[in-house]
Amino acid sequence: MNHQRRDALKAGGGLGVLGLLATVGLIRPETAHAAWNEQAFGAKSLDAAFEVLGAGKPAVSDDVVLNTPDIAENGAVVPVGVVSKLPGTEYVAIMIEKNPYMLAASFTIPEGTQAEVQTRVKMGQTSDVYALVKADGKFYMAKKEVKVTLGGCGG
């Protein structure tokens, strides 16, 4: 399986990796279909990321709640949770303003799944963390500063 995959990758050349894998039947087509949003993950500013995602200038909403610690002991692992109380929430994204690339993760929320996700992200330095939410076709956001202490000498 692994060998096949490697060979397939070699042969693939310019073809998209995921598309190629789907054509040789190694991954489920629907996974490949989702097509990782390279443009959004490549955005180097918040505005650029918002633009790629079609969010324009999202309104700040109190119904979007960011759960993070105020201060993180290590930027390598910073817990971030997003809860949206907005009805019809279909999409949630987590962005770190001062990271080289803003967008950390995005989630598509199908009907029946609660708009409540938690993950952990890397932060290079103290920064505002943004939650971007799409509900009923409109974009909203919340932000919160997380302080990061980088310290210690391996101890």
Binding site: P69, D70, I71, A72, E73, P79, G152, G154, G155
Partner: protein, 265 residues
């Protein structure tokens, strides 16, 4: 000249105020709490559980007959009572050395391979995964090592002496950093191991997943690193000096709940 003096004064001002404000803000409780649920150490625990049940080594045997002190194959609660004296091995063993003993006697995997090996590699890495499995089954247990046993008591005393023993080019001892309340290295708070609570905190939160390196570290690994940071000679894996320090910490922290496995910065 006057300008230069002013610049220096400004720097000093900053240097003096920074630690004070940093002190107030260095409360990582919320951060640690959020990491405790879904501690990546669980990934190592899974690997360890698999290793425990897998027939391996020259003898092609599992570790299911390994006696961690509570009888052959009993894992639940075993870590909370380690280090302890084992008649069959004729020495006080901590969790790593006991597992190493089982790997050698049951599976035929030579301990030398682990002792001479490297952290996070080969059989020593597999041993660490087994440690993750075993300690997870003592989560929430109270530390309960048997100090009434003369051999354990002897180890405790040796550990206490080691704790205060100054060594290396920096003339450091464990006590240099770990015998006062409220000490820290940069942002890392250091437990006061001379107190019962501090000892339990130190002993009971390792082994741990370290987020800075995305690695799982056993107590042998952690204490080895303490010696390295003191610029002292590096202790041999599984040697008595580490078991002694472990026995000292565990013995001092007896009766307090262990939080194994930990998650550390």
């Amino acid at each position: 000249m006057r300008k230069r003096i002013k610049a220096v004064a400004v720097c000093v001002g900053i240097a003096l105020t920074a630690p004070a404000s940093a002190q107030e803000e260095l409360n990582f409780d919320a951060y640690r709490e959020m990491l405790a649920d879904g501690n990546p150490a669980e990934l190592y625990e899974m690997e360890g559980e698999e290793l425990w049940r897998t027939a391996r080594g020259p003898k092609n045997a599992t570790l299911e007959q390994c006696d961690l002190g509570l009888g052959a194959g009993v894992v639940a609660g075993a870590a909370a009572q380690l280090p302890r004296y084992f008649e069959d091995a004729g020495r006080v063993q901590d969790i790593e050395t006991r597992l190493m003993y089982c790997m050698e006697t049951l599976q035929g995997i030579p301990s030398k391979e682990i002792i001479d090996g490297k952290f996070l590699q080969g059989e020593r890495a597999r041993l660490a995964a087994l440690v993750a499995y075993v300690v997870t089954h003592s989560k929430g247990e109270k530390i309960a090592i048997d100090l009434s046993h003369p051999k354990v008591k002897e180890m405790y005393e040796l550990g206490e002496r080691t704790f205060y023993y100054r060594l290396g080019v920096m003339d450091f001892s464990c006590a240099s950093c770990h015998s006062q309340d409220g000490k820290r290295i940069r942002a890392t708070q250091l437990p006061n191991i001379t107190t019962r609570e501090g000892a339990a905190e130190g002993w009971g939160s390792w082994p741990a997943y370290r987020v800075s390196s995305s690695q799982f570290w056993t107590m042998q690994h952690r204490l080895w690193d303490c010696f390295r940071q003191q610029r002292a000679a590096e202790p041999i894996f599984g040697s008595d000096v580490i078991i002694a320090l472990s026995t000292f910490m565990a013995g001092k922290g007896n009766g307090i709940e262990a939080k194994w496995p930990g998650v550390k910065r």
